[in-house]
Symmetry: C2
């Protein structure tokens, strides 16, 4: 068994979450992914969170298993070098992922002159080419308005850069679909995706645009309730908080049965003249349902019901802090085969995830650390660009490229 | 130009967000996607939000452009029918997406007996096969603990089913990568992805696991601030709220310059003995920075600075409700080529998004409405399974399949 995308070479010119995530996802499926950065590191080289050393855990997390080259793109020679890397020959190469919107030497028109079957996937801010990030797209579309405790006046933003994570995965799909097309028809193409369009489309996909246009009443904040059916958080007697779900009929019946509230729910339904088997009715009567369920949880510790809930197949979980989750949840530990314990120079030792995708016909790629900036410069110039040692040495001497062998790593302060 | 995935046939047995989104994404790239459901509709047939008619906008949003067949899977004949659809011949067929965890007749071992190069992508709750949904995965990993206003005691859940959206896009990548592998090596495979693993891996990718293990101090709630650098929301004189970003050096300099706060920021830096060009320092001093910027916004309406901000290339946006966004933002209207105005039977007329991916070598697929349940039954039984009219009529008579032509649509109450 070989890795799924073995032999594919992808070049990435990127920063932040989405495109680095796309490149890393491909690397974790076996592709060779070359990330180029300016000398000194890209815009995200020092992004928080950082390790006690000051080195970026964020950068390390999103660039695992890639090859790194650092190039002075202010020089003509550096720009030519990047062009040669992006458009280097190879049946399964000529694949370029970027969110650096560089007009001129790095746009599709120019690059495709050097390789006419180039596939270039560009993620922009909005469709007009204006800068937008997850933190601006999200409020513009209204998600913070429907997030947060019921009655809370102000918008509440996401802590997770969800749109970036979605867009990054979409870049992977776009690249694979375009490469499939090239394999059959021979031609490359320019693929453009705007982060704001990704969010706009998803808003529509979830029915929220139709809801806004067709319905008078607007969806408001509903705290931690599951929208549209039943699901709620409860504080237990041990101070722990749980989330319980009654989305499907089976989940709902299981929850009512496990909490011994069958009669109380029947009385509620009778009093209101409504059928709680209808998920929309559960949503409408969620506060009344919560009032019935609350005493069950308030008088029990999680340990008192966890085994029973699992035995009954209920859909539920316990709220944790990130630190608690990492310390307590086996799914975030070495118990989970997607994690490896890595000792990463300059960072430290902690469980590092590989891909969550399990392919039966390909071996699991063990998580690899992120490269030091410029670490693969000589290898890339030799193997990909086809330069001889003399040429490579000249580029180092001139400062067109830089690697840790020739200078102290600059990404770490 | 033909659509990118034209000729590919994918069968989907699904409910809710992730897998329906995956199938729809493939349909929007040109694949033929057949969703099968039980008679009466799947678990998500009536999911909120709904149109004034009571019909689900959610279902319509996530199943656009698919073909629909409704089958009685409680009968042996119905199960055999689904098996034949999933494993039907065709070079670019034999692709199955599902989140229905059915042991026995619908698992990979059984289905692949009928087509040994079958590719099956299964999304489960957690890696143990236990039920988990976006609403339970998110609190288990700690995201709600870091979401919400600074000082707010309780966890705040996502309003966006972010993990589902991420996992759905990952199912697309997994399917395309496995199909690429089959094209080269001939073999199919079983691909398994757990929603909780998707979230666990992303937590690690973003550096949050390393942060939790290596650093004493734990990231807390920080309201609507951009984590790790500078970005903040401000209330303006007209009651509107904006988000402004100073993530990169360029964004930060632009923001300071456009708000005329250069001197005040220099005084802050001098007083603290810190360099605001360092993004981590901006994060540390975000409250002081916000105090300096607040008067600029408090004394101005959005219209007073919007043109200048755009001219200066600042990264910013205005907070809106979903209703306001749909009414006011051209990116959520017919002005944006990803949208089409569709008049959908039983739902109404509103802008419907196609894919946000723009492929230069493939035409944009105009958004298609979702099918009525069972609408393509005859076509699928004839063209895909290869049944004759007599056989098809017998299945309808027996109630093994059902379509709107033979019965009132059941998905709408």
């Amino acid at each position: 068994m070989t890795q799924l995308l073995k032999g594919m070479r992808v070049v990435e010119g990127s920063a932040f979450v989405a495109v680095p995530l796309a490149g890393m996802t491909l690397a974790q499926m076996g592709a060779e992914v070359i990330r180029f950065d300016r000398i000194g590191g890209g815009l995200d080289a020092n992004r928080l969170p950082v390790a006690p050393s000051g080195q970026s855990l964020f950068w390390a997390g999103l660039n695992k298993g890639k090859k790194s080259i650092a190039v002075d793109m202010k020089s003509a020679e550096g720009r030519e070098l990047v062009t040669r890397i992006v458009t280097a020959p190879g049946e399964d190469a000529g694949l370029f992922l970027t969110n650096l919107r560089v007009r001129g030497w790095m746009d599709y028109e120019t690059l495709s002159q050097f390789r006419d079957d180039l596939i270039m996937v560009t993620l922009t801010g909005d469709r007009h080419g204006r800068p937008q990030v997850d933190y601006t797209v999200n409020p513009a579309l209204g998600i913070p308005d429907i997030t947060g405790p019921e009655g809370h006046a102000d918008p509440v933003a996401n802590a997770l850069p969800a749109w970036d994570c979605i867009a990054g995965n979409m870049c992977v799909s776009a690249l694979l679909a375009a490469e499939r097309h090239r394999l059959r028809h021979g031609n490359g193409q320019d693929v453009e995706i705007a982060l704001k369009d990704v969010a706009a489309a998803m808003l529509g996909n979830l029915g929220m645009i139709g809801d806004a246009v067709l319905n008078e009443e607007q969806r408001g904040k509903s705290g931690n309730a599951l929208y549209g059916a039943y699901g709620q958080d409860f504080l237990c007697a041990d101070g722990k908080r749980v989330m319980v779900i009654g989305l499907t009929e089976r989940q709902w019946k299981g929850l009512v049965s496990a909490t011994g509230t069958t009669d109380a729910m029947a009385r509620l339904a009778a009093r209101k003249g409504r059928d709680l088997m209808d998920e929309a009715v559960r949503w409408e009567l969620r506060h009344e349902i919560t009032d019935i369920l609350r005493p069950f949880f308030a008088t029990r510790r999680v340990d008192d019901f966890a085994v029973d809930f699992n035995k009954a197949g209920l859909t539920w979980s316990q709220f944790r802090t990130v630190k608690e989750a990492v310390a307590e949840d086996p799914d975030l530990s070495m118990d989970n085969p997607i994690f490896s314990m890595l000792d990463q120079p300059g960072l430290g030792r902690f469980p590092v995830p590989g891909t969550p995708m399990n392919f039966s016909a390909a071996p699991r790629t063990e998580p690899q650390p992120a490269p030091a900036l410029g670490m693969h410069t000589e290898e890339i110039l030799g193997d990909v660009v086809g330069m001889c040692d003399t040429e490579i040495a000249r580029l180092f001497d001139k400062g067109v490229v830089q690697s840790p062998r020739f200078a102290a790593p600059l990404a770490a302060e």
